[in-house]
Amino acid sequence: MILDVREVTKQFGGLTAVDRVSFSLEGGEILGLIGPNGAGKTTLFNCINGVYSPTKGSVVFKGKDITGKHTYDIARLGLARTHQIVRPLNELTVRENVVAGACYGKDGLSLRDAAKVADDVMETVRLSERADVLASSLNVAQKKRLEMARALAAKPEMLLLDEVLAGLNTTEVSGMLDTIRHIREGGVTIIMIEHIMHAIMNLSDRIIVLNYGEMIADGSPEVVSQDEQVIEAYLGNPELAEQILEEGRA
């Protein structure tokens, strides 16, 4: 078990954004995290990687209690993430962005070693050609890949992907899916938030569904997409759910 989230609750004033969510995750799994807008998905990410300190509950990563630890300390344990709204280091080059990811990541590499890792990672996410331009000059799809590259360069054991497919066109989506599979083959455990159903149903080993901060389902994509509560809260139409699954298999 690489991650154990126990009864995590996050309140902002009177609003409970995440409400007693518990789940655990085996190494190498891909876990999909879905739910309507405002369900608390990103907040849950923030509680896991230390951007927020949970109001209640605990998070255990690799057997260590990381609840309330600084986000940079958690990052150095091998937990990397991407942001839903991309956050490139604009005035630095693409290479510098990725090198920074590598040298402050799990292994704390020297600049020289980090440069080598960065070259490999930029190859993986197909950014090598843009290595020496400023991050601000990338287009949206490239910025998403940069987020991914920076997280990967840290050589994480676990990766939190926050809507890396949003805003991409069909070709870009399939390219990104290949990249994600490639990462999983490298043994990295992944939790991903996604709204593109066929992608997440297809990719995930398991899916959990949040609604108003509460976890309303936890299971395989097949089971979750048949779940009445999930259909009512999120998927809407049962036939549509079937159809999505079909598409995913195709």
């Binding site: 940079y72 990811g101 402050y104 600049l111």
Partner: protein, 320 residues
């Protein structure tokens, strides 16, 4: 060798300026170059915080004052040598900036900038009322003190040579920081502090060390300045306007580059000394500094070097 081109160009810029008085042997030339080197050293130090880390310190001159006062006290009251005074001044600035940095670097943006102004003014008021430092009158070094340093007439030149050493040390430090992992962390903080932390950059400690580093050199400059001056008082040591001028120098030359603050300080100080000779209008250089800052922020926010680097990417390796 190629790796260090950027550093060599920056050092060469300082050396070319610094040797002029050494060749001409003119007192007036030394005095004006002293002001320029002082500007370069202060601006380059500030750049580590302002340019690399992205934190605007409006009251950075406080470290010039603290270094100056502690160094001066060490010489005038404790009877120690200039060398001990330099160490004491730098140590005092380091300790104070570490403690203060740990506290106020939690503030971001305008709040941090305001806090730094407050610190400078508070320190000035404190020193003005602190009897061991001579209160509002300050302290004076006796002529006899300078016997060990080749006599009073030699002090200007001796201080000048030492200032060259300090200035070169600042420039080398600035370059090494920029090219290091530490520097990359600082620049990540400048671009997006929250994202940097998520990437594993320990922002609180990185910022504090950047702040300490940018405080130590102004303290050394302060010790030298007041040693040469033979007199120190609160108004001279904690001059807020010099603080603002430091920012103008960095912005003019190019934020976050090694050579930018060198050229910016050179150009600004040269302009300033020309304006100082204008009759009738007192302190016109401050108005000019204000207008200059406004124009830079409006039209070339990356400064002269930033602009050149953007226009001519090939020059990037030469102009670090």
């Amino acid at each position: 060798m190629k790796r260090f081109t950027g550093l060599l160009v920056s050092l060469a810029a300082v050396v070319v300026l610094a040797v002029i008085p050494l060749i001409t042997h003119k007192d007036s030339s030394m005095q004006s170059m002293f002001t320029i080197l002082l500007g370069i050293a202060l601006a380059s130090s500030l750049n580590i915080l302002l340019g690399y880390t992205g934190y605007v310190s409006f009251g950075h001159i406080v470290y010039f004052g603290i270094g100056g006062y502690v160094g001066f006290y060490t010489m005038a009251q404790l009877g120690q040598s200039l060398w001990i005074a330099l160490l004491a001044g730098a140590a005092a600035a380091a300790v104070f900036s570490f403690l203060l940095g740990s506290a106020i670097l939690r503030l971001r943006g305008a709040y941090f900038a305001l806090a730094t102004i407050g610190v400078n003014e508070a320190m000035k008021a404190l020193v003005s009322n602190f009897d061991p430092f001579g209160g509002p009158i300050g302290m004076t070094l006796k002529v006899s003190f300078y016997k060990d340093y080749g006599g009073f007439s030699n002090i200007g030149w001796m201080s000048y040579r030492l200032l060259i050493v300090v200035t070169l040390a600042v420039v080398i430090t600035s370059y090494l920081v920029k090219k290091s992992k530490f520097g990359l962390g600082l620049m990540a903080i400048r671009e997006d502090e929250d994202a940097a932390e998520v990437m594993g950059v320990r922002a609180p400690s990185a910022k504090t060390w950047a702040y300490v580093l940018s405080a130590v050199f102004p303290a050394l400059v302060g010790v030298l300045f007041f040693f040469k001056n033979s007199n120190i008082e609160p108004g001279d040591a904690f001059r807020l306007q010099l603080s603002i001028e430091m920012i103008v120098m960095v912005m003019l030359g190019g934020l976050g580059t090694v050579i930018g603050p060198i050229l910016g300080a050179g150009a600004y100080q040269a302009l300033r000394s020309t304006l100082l000779t204008v009759d009738k209008v007192k302190d016109v250089q401050l108005a000019v500094a204000g207008v200059l800052l406004l124009l830079i922020i409006l039209f070339i926010p990356t400064g002269a070097i930033g602009w050149v680097r953007r226009r001519f990417p090939r020059l990037r390796r030469v102009l670090e």
